[in-house]
């Protein structure tokens, strides 16, 4: 049984910037792995750590956001490489939901495959959310995928999300293999016609 993902409650991390690519989310040198376990330690490695391994000034290094699970970022998040290592690395540091103005398509697809909701909000909302979280990091954030509501503290915001991804999450169909397997006979027919 695949878990239905309907509500997320937590605290947020403001990560400002447009076009944050998957090489930045996880540099290629950390992809030499046979499973996706333990990739969290490499999330945003080069922007979080100096070449000597010292912590740099980065929201993910800040005690203000320790243990927070909702990433709030800007436009075209996750552009570049198709590496699923990127959402796995985010998941590895406890990210359960992402809020951004837009996403690169393959990245959004990979998030859906992992059961991570990737919400879309407009620029004004992102700025408001990021500023509010920066000022009061402890503020609770609640996402309800069933009702389509996003609440930060006392304030409500609307969000968008491709209906296909939303449906897959709330109905527990985000692990696509089992859903696809159900049509095995039709697949076999298609294979014959395409030979």
């Amino acid at each position: 049984m695949i878990k239905k993902i309907q509500q997320i409650t937590g605290q947020a991390i403001p990560l400002k910037g447009n076009d944050i690519d998957t090489d930045r989310i996880i540099p290629a040198r950390f992809m030499k792995c046979l499973t996706f376990d333990g990739l969290g330690q490499f999330a945003f490695y080069d922007v979080r750590f100096s070449d000597k391994g010292e912590e740099k000034d980065h929201p993910l290094n800040s005690p203000d956001y320790a243990g927070h699970s909702v990433l709030i970022t800007n436009r075209n998040f996750g552009c570049g490489s198709s590496r699923e290592h990127a959402p796995w690395a985010l998941s590895g540091i406890g990210i359960k939901c992402i809020i951004a103005q837009s996403y690169a398509e393959i990245f959004a697809n990979n998030c859906s495959s992992l059961g991570i909701p990737a919400l879309i909000v407009d620029e004004e909302t992102v700025t408001k959310l990021q500023n509010k979280v920066s000022a009061h990091p402890e503020t609770e954030i609640k996402v309800n995928l069933l009702t389509g509501t996003l609440t930060l503290g006392e304030e409500n915001f609307s969000f968008d999300m491709p209906e296909t991804y939303r449906k897959a999450l709330v109905e527990g169909k985000w692990d696509t293999t089992s859903m696809l397997m159900e049509n095995l006979e039709a697949i076999k027919k298609k294979n014959q016609t395409l030979k």
Partner: protein, 464 residues
């Protein structure tokens, strides 16, 4: 209203509509490599599933493979493990595999077309974003994550939403010294790195009609850098001529041509958007920043931050700081530490021929480390037969074995420290070429050759 190629290929491969509202699409050809596939085989095993149609999957090694010392085991133990995993997964599941010793080994997006695996009208998927390359043949080809590799191995299908189609007309008269790479960099600069989200790009117009398959592949390859997951060119005589006689092309070739022709977009096909680009005044393009949309002509100046739209300023300012370049300056005269010719964007034989022609009789600047990495064994063999390797070696380039190499630096080919690399690859993201502070300037192979010789960024047209 007629249909475009994407609509036709989509309908042909649609299995059913899924409960989520996505379409279940049959993937006719699946390509795998060592970096993004082992985890998928692991997931499959954990669920007790088998590979449904192993004859539809082909594997090779490219991302991690060393381009100098190829003796096994590789010095990098992790790389050796990953390649062994691919060897085990392919042999254990009866999947065709072209390993380091194979005559067909190469960057997966160079290998597919060379072998004739890539054909018009197919749906093609690979765990690599540059799978869009195969669209040059009129295929619908897209990059996927590892969970979808698992889906395809298990079911030969994936859950997808049909993209909109933007027709991009490329017209005019391309000047000597300006290449397909310059055109695609211009398109990305104009439409933005996120401009293609939700779209497939159909390329056409007199310039595309006149292009070779290799040039078309360069254009389709970098489609993903503009945010579009799929890019394609309608199949025509150039396509059929290229495919004729290749290892995996269909036996009833004439019949296939008829079928393929019918898949091309109808004359009255509908599009969701249209973009026209006249390339008559286009000059060689260069990137100055940290994404492929940060591109300008070789004689243009880096934009003044305050003159950019507000939402681009922060990234642009960060980019200038990182690149150690100033707004308002041109890139000409910027010192180049490394020159890299290769990658799935520009590592094909025509790229090497053009660069070699330029390099002939010249010498690489002593302060520049320059390397040529053929995209595949077949490219390498052809180049050696034509004596191109000698031209490069005599000029002072290193001549390497085929692989992805310094495009993403997962093998030992990396920038050191803040080195600046003139690169024929596809991404200038921060840290992309292996050093967190290393800097990348994207350009055509001939422009890279010129930069290698002069030791600084220059206009190749002024050196002929």
């Amino acid at each position: 209203m007629g249909k475009n190629l994407l609509q036709k290929v989509w309908e042909n491969h649609k299995v059913t509509r899924l409960p989520t509202g996505q379409d279940q699409i049959f993937i006719a050809l699946h390509l795998i490599h060592e970096v993004t596939s082992p985890q998928a085989f692991g997931m499959l095993k954990a669920r007790g599933l088998k590979v449904l149609y192993p004859e539809r999957t082909f594997g090779t090694v490219d991302h991690i493979i060393p381009t100098d010392k190829r003796e096994r085991p590789f010095e990098d133990k992790l790389a050796e493990n990953m390649i062994q995993a691919l060897e085990k997964n392919t042999s254990g599941n009866n999947i065709s595999y072209f390993g380091p010793e194979s005559d067909h080994q190469g960057i997966v997006h160079i290998m597919g077309p060379e072998l004739g695996l890539t054909q018009p009208g197919l749906t093609i998927a690979c765990g690599d974003s540059h799978t869009s390359t195969h669209g040059a043949f009129g295929a619908i080809a897209l990059g996927i994550g590892t969970s979808q590799i698992r889906d395809i191995l298990a079911t030969q299908t994936m859950a997808l939403s049909k993209p909109k189609v933007r027709r991009i007309n490329i017209t005019g008269d391309l000047k000597p010294g300006v290449y397909a790479k310059d055109i695609i960099l211009k398109i990305i600069a104009e439409l933005g790195v996120n401009g293609g989200i939700g779209f497939a790009y159909e390329y056409g117009g007199n310039i595309v009609d006149e292009m070779s398959m290799e040039e078309r592949m360069t254009i389709c390859n970098m489609t993903i850098e503009g945010g579009a997951r799929v890019g394609y060119v309608n199949p025509d005589d150039t396509t059929f001529e290229y495919l004729k006689g290749r290892l995996y092309t269909p036996e009833d070739f004439d019949n296939s041509i008829k079928k393929w022709k019918a898949l091309a977009s109808d004359k009255d096909a509908e599009y969701d958007d249209l973009y026209n680009l006249d390339v008559t005044d286009l000059e060689p393009m260069l990137t100055w920043g940290i994404n492929p949309g940060h591109a300008i002509g070789v004689n243009q100046r880096i934009p003044i931050i305050e003159e950019l739209p507000e939402d681009q300023r922060q990234t642009a300012s960060h980019a200038c700081d990182f690149m150690d370049l100033s707004p308002g300056q041109t890139l000409k005269g910027t010192k180049v530490d490394v020159a890299f010719i290769g990658s799935c964007t520009n590592g094909r034989i025509s790229d090497l021929r053009e660069a070699a022609e330029f390099v002939k009789g010249k010498k690489v600047n002593p302060s520049t480390r320059a390397l040529v990495v053929p995209g595949s064994r077949s490219v390498s063999n052809m180049a050696e037969k034509e004596g191109l390797h000698k031209i490069f070696i005599e000029a002072g380039f290193q001549w390497r074995e085929p692989g992805c190499s310094m495009c993403l630096a997962m093998n030992p080919d990396k920038l050191k420290g803040i080195e600046l690399c003139a690169s024929s690859s596809n991404r200038n993201f921060i840290g992309r070429q292996g050093s967190p502070t290393g800097r990348t300037v994207l350009m055509s192979p001939v422009m890279v050759a010129a930069a290698a010789i002069k030791g600084e960024i220059c206009d190749s047209r002024e050196m002929i």
